[in-house]
Amino acid sequence: MSLPRRIIKETERLVSDPVPGISAIPHDDNLRYFDVLIEGPTQSPYEGGLFKLELFLPDDYPMMAPKVRFLTKIYHPNIDRLGRICLDVLKSNWSPALQIRTLLLSIQALLASPNPDDPLANDVAEEWKKNENTAIETAKEWTRKYATEKS
């Protein structure tokens, strides 16, 4: 099936003008499926980590949001054990004027500022609220353990 022009152009622009700290490379056999790498933002518990994600553009993209999931284990109140992400722009606040680029930037921003008040991983969020320091330590530890091996 032919790929919409928009996806082709977005991919070209992602390659020619990449976002610092983020890379997204489409699969050769399925150009709607991207391997994404996001660097943990500086001064966050995820600093130094390199997180792998998968991103899929559904048929009705850009009218529907891309599907994104963390593949690297991460300790974060808005990301659950399966890597699913709780982020408004992935759901109801998606807008076709957003792009893969802006979406990945939002995810990076989510890493920089976790939001335990709108949790997806309840245990993590609870810990984050009760005992923020311990939670941050755990996040750092997970980052060391899971997000630094491969790079």
Binding site: S2, P4, R5, R6, E10, M63, P96, A97, P119, N122
Partner: protein
């Protein structure tokens, strides 16, 4: 009058309404987009691309969904439900194939006429003149959603004046009915406090939560303003005063592609003379489906020291055209002395007012997403009904399973308890009946309303 085919999904908007909006010039036409554009292109290059542009995007012939070889042909033993589904699929498939065929036919016809027109020099009604093509496409803008290039007269969002092509606009719609987000999160929070696993679909979903299902109007994709709507400033239209060309877009491009020299004296031409001398008049009432730019009648006329382009709908009567000429000749065409770097259009008052303020969604100039999909309300009610039924069923199952548990717990068969089970079942059935009756009533009311409306019309 059909979209180019950027999106594969079904066209679920009201095509009749959209068609009329385009005819009434409240919505930009479905222009045939350019895949690419470079401002350094020469006029010839642009023309050669335009001349070879297809009316519609090519169909993916072997879409999996529509591939006949994938449809099994044996459904003798299979369930009725399955047969029905299969039949509908076959129907959709044949529709799809037919559409491909029609579109190909139209394209071939168009190609033939185009060849006659451009190569052999015949005048063909549906073939745009070269002047029209160049004038429409000389400074195309990229639709920020589909990334295709369109003539510089696109719809603008009513709130933040961002461009959007009609093809993208008709794709924007309400989300499916859903529970309000806030409630969801408070739900999770209560779960959190009681430290039980999150279970939003817990058994306690009452009727009130059914009524809470909401369907919000689509938001502006650019500024998230609710009640997304667009306006269209058609070129040379008297209603909005002046053309929909955005002055800032204009000034950022060098005017090197302008097709005809625009003289310093922009002359007021009275309409009859211009139409009489007009050779390129594309009057395309006949074949609306053929050419996606068909709404625009190109009338271009060059004289020694004057030139004017009028794109007006073929249905507009000559009166309004002549009026719009009188109004727009002054404002719309920059004269070449000022056209060099900052070819600002002489803005009319109306245009300036429009640029500064956003329009309310209720304004008659605005086309909202709900307007082209008037069925959202019925969708919401039916979704509520469905949820209500599901709730009833779920609580029935839940209750009966509780009872069964009780039964097993007390191995002796207690007469009173069986009674209560029967009682409960009876009540469940009654409740289900009540709900379906309600639904039926609702449907009838709606039908009556519809009939009433019809009678009114």
């Amino acid at each position: 009058m059909a979209p180019y085919g950027v999106y594969n999904s079904n066209l679920d908007y009201n095509t009749e309404i959209v068609k009329n909006l385009i005819i009434d010039r409240k919505l930009a036409p479905f222009y045939t987009p350019l895949q690419d554009f470079d401002h350094n292109w020469s006029q010839d290059k642009l023309l050669s691309i335009l001349k070879n542009n297809n009316l519609h995007s090519e169909f993916p012939e072997n879409l999996e969904d529509y591939d006949s070889s994938l449809l099994p042909n044996l459904p003798d033993k299979s369930s009725k439900h399955y047969q029905k589904r299969l039949q509908s699929r076959q129907f959709v498939q044949s529709l799809y194939l037919k559409r491909i065929q029609w579109q190909n036919d139209a394209q071939q016809r168009f190609n033939r006429e185009r060849k006659l027109s451009y190569i052999n020099g015949f005048k063909k009604e549906n073939i745009p003149s070269i002047d029209l093509l160049l004038n429409l496409y000389k400074n195309p803008i990229e639709c920020p959603i589909c990334f295709l290039f369109y003539p510089n007269h696109l719809n603008k969002s009513r709130c933040c004046l961002q461009p959007i092509c009609t093809e993208c606009f008709v794709q924007i719609k309400r989300l499916d009915p859903h529970p309000p987000h806030d409630e969801n999160s408070s739900d999770l929070n209560t779960n959190l406090q009681s430290s039980s696993p999150p279970n939003p679909q817990s058994n306690s979903q009452s009727n009130s939560s059914v009524q809470d299902l909401i369907s919000e109007p689509a938001k502006c994709p650019y500024c998230a303003m609710p009640d997304f709507g667009v306006t269209y400033n058609p070129p040379n239209n008297i209603k909005t005063g002046t053309a929909g060309i955005n002055p800032c877009d204009y000034s950022s491009y060098p005017n090197n592609l302008s097709s005809t020299p625009i003289s310093e004296d922009v002359i007021h031409i009275d309409f009859p003379s211009s139409s009489n001398n007009n050779n390129n008049n594309n009057n395309n009432n006949n074949n609306n489906k053929l050419f996606s730019d068909n709404h625009s009648t190109a009338e271009s006329r060059s004289s020694k020291n004057s030139s004017i382009f009028i794109h007006s709908h073929s249905n507009s009567n000559s009166n309004s055209i002549s009026n719009s000429i009188a109004n727009s000749v002054n404002s719309n065409f920059p004269n070449s002395s000022s056209a060099s770097n900052d070819n600002q259009l002489a803005p009319s008052d109306i245009y300036q007012r429009k640029r500064r303020s956003s329009l309310p969604a209720s304004s008659p100039l605005v086309v909202t997403t709900d307007y082209i999909r008037s069925d959202w309300e019925s969708k919401l009610t039916s979704a509520r009904m469905r949820l209500a039924r599901r709730c009833a069923a779920a609580s029935a199952i839940h209750a009966s399973s509780l009872l069964f548990e009780n039964h097993e717990g007390s191995s002796s068969t207690n007469r009173r308890r069986t009674d209560s089970t029967n009682d409960l079942e009876q009540r469940m059935i009654e409740e289900a009946l009540r709900l379906s009756l309600l639904e039926e009533e609702d449907r009838q009311v709606k039908e009556r309303q519809k009939n009433k409306n019809k009678n009114k019309n």
